[in-house]
Symmetry: C2
Subunit: 356 residues, 2 copies
């Protein structure tokens, strides 16, 4: 199946990989808005198309957004390889600005774009547009491959948190669909499952966009990991009944003091976990740390459209004209966090610019 969205081609029924290059050099993205009903891929060939896919949350997950933006830049610059160096760099800057403005909270996006900009700057002044493009292509691919390796390391460092018989609660999607690899919060779960440990995952459905129901339950089922879906509001009762051994969540930005932003509802879970004596871990690649922000009050929180709350699948579930507050994220202060599970190990704040 092929459909169109501002220069984007849709293809359905390709084996599951949330991101990849096509033979032609487009970015192939699994359209995450259409899961779990349809496994449809879109192919994006421009920075504009990629920015639109990010805004629509067809591609989401802090690490994956960074990877996708880098790859989208490269795809969009293919046609500029024959241009002059200055024109090429001007187009690069335009793409960086456009992509950087799509979502404000996750820092991985800014990190990836900054890395692409620095990669271009590192090419000698006599380098052609073609040489610049080759360097950017290599950089984007490296960002993707490094993310895959970081996921694996997060999983390995996190294995002790998921012993045999563990009952884990997670929120939103911090899995394979959010990264270039096996995920962040879900990485230790996948490795524990691979090793034959019995693990059970309670999945918050994660309103309003339902990333837990649509994505996390789907990818865990895909991998054969036993899981149970719950309404977000059921997490408290579950903890009171001692059905949760550990909470594992992802992060969109981690400040120097350890305060972190993640999907709306994470903070409430952290309070509940603390209240019930349940360990609460934040799992993220080191690229999620923003040492320039002292604390969580400084993190910009994206407000999403009211329609995410007032309508589901196009059908109204609230009265017309209802006022809505729809922050995409909340901030969890560091004092609620048992530990930060990163590719550099299970660590504690403060987090400096070059902490390890």
């Amino acid at each position: 199946m092929v459909s169109r969205q501002c220069g984007v081609r849709y293809l359905s029924r390709v084996a599951l990989t949330p991101i990849s290059w096509t033979a032609a050099g487009d970015v192939r993205l699994l359209d995450q808005r259409r899961l779990p009903s349809e496994e449809v891929y879109l192919e994006v060939g421009t920075a504009e198309g990629l920015a639109e896919a990010i805004r629509r949350m067809q591609v989401r997950g802090a690490p994956l957004i960074g990877i996708a933006a880098a790859m989208g830049l490269v795809a969009g610059l293919r046609e500029r390889r024959g241009a002059g160096r200055d024109a090429f760099l001007a187009h690069l800057r335009e793409g960086v600005t456009l992509l950087g403005a799509t979502r404000p909270t996750a820092v991985n996006l800014q990190w990836a774009l900054g890395r692409m900009t620095r990669a271009a700057a590192a090419v000698p002044d006599d380098g052609t547009a073609g040489a610049l493009w080759d360097r950017l292509h290599a950089e984007a691919t490296a960002i993707w491959e490094e993310d895959r390796a970081m996921c694996r390391r997060i999983g390995e460092y996190g294995l002790p948190l998921v012993p045999d018989g563990a009952k884990v609660l997670t929120h939103c999607n911090a899995g394979a669909l959010a990264t270039g690899g096996i995920g962040t919060a879900l990485a230790p779960i996948y490795l524990a499952h691979e090793q034959g440990r019995q693990v059970h995952v309670y999945v918050d459905e994660t309103r309003p966009v339902l990333q837990g129901a649509r994505l996390t339950a789907w990818e865990l089922q895909h991998a054969g990991v036993p899981c149970t879906l719950i309404a977000d509001a059921a997490a408290g009762a579950l903890m009171r009944q001692a059905k949760v051994d550990v909470v594992l969540v992802g992060a969109d930005r981690i400040c120097a003091n350890g305060d972190f932003a993640n999907k709306i509802g994470t903070y409430g879970l952290a309070v509940l976990a603390r209240h019930h004596g349940v360990p609460f871990y934040c799992a993220a690649p080191w690229t999620t740390v923003d040492p320039t922000l002292a604390d969580g009050d400084l993190i910009p929180i994206e407000q999403r459209p009211a329609e995410e709350v007032t309508a589901i699948a196009g059908r109204p579930v609230a009265p017309a004209g209802a006022a809505v507050l729809n922050p995409a994220f909340d901030v969890t202060p560091a004092r609620y966090v048992t530990g930060y599970l990163t590719d550099r190990g299970l660590v504690q704040p403060p987090f400096g610019a070059d902490p390890v």
Copy 2:
């Protein structure tokens, strides 16, 4: 518009009243599953039809279920007025058993059915089926009218909790749509609004059945009370930002020690309120107290179908075959409750069989 459901007639676009008698003696119910998209009324003439409407949550809200069951019994016994006394009483018992089995958690249903049974028993032994029916009709009408008066008193006792400028958070629907009157948790809000106080209500959407989005936001909007809809998981961030002065919720059953059952998510809100120093009140008519249960561990918790979580408006939002845990209610221990707002005042446990 008229449609059919096991002997039930549908009529659309009648002025808002969640329950009433029709001229023919049927029970007219606002179909709460179809709000806010459609304001459709159904007319039920049998205990079976009423039981089905309760199971489908076309009528819901602990006090309203009790009223509806009593009225449904009466409607279903109309045709038995010419029968013998024993046959009439046998039909009454059948109806009581059928209606009593529809939903296990709310105690008002059992209370109303018990009251109907006792009313019949109080009719002298030489009373005809017609005399029995007249007595039951009067009793059901009294249950309804008394509930309306109880709501008003709850509102009056609760007025000091909602001063000018108050920002209230509520969960599920404990309003006019859940009762025969102006609601329980919403009653003080309506009275404060009537008196010209500025009140703002944050409404949890209340997944999975969305009573907050579909019903509470709708009835508050209807009444002109300013309100803002939020995803359930946003309540924690709201409290952390000091945007909530007080939490007001309803109850489906209150135990002797003050533990109470209410819509899933209530317990989590109570923990968050305690953590943030926000007062947390449970509002209910005295008929919600079950002095026979010592504590909340004894309350039967209804498990609802998985489809409430896995599909919305008939469209799947989770992968096929996903395991789901869908308790309709949770239990909040008394120690989290600032006070119990009832028609007998703002009270504290323990609650005996005849406490006032």
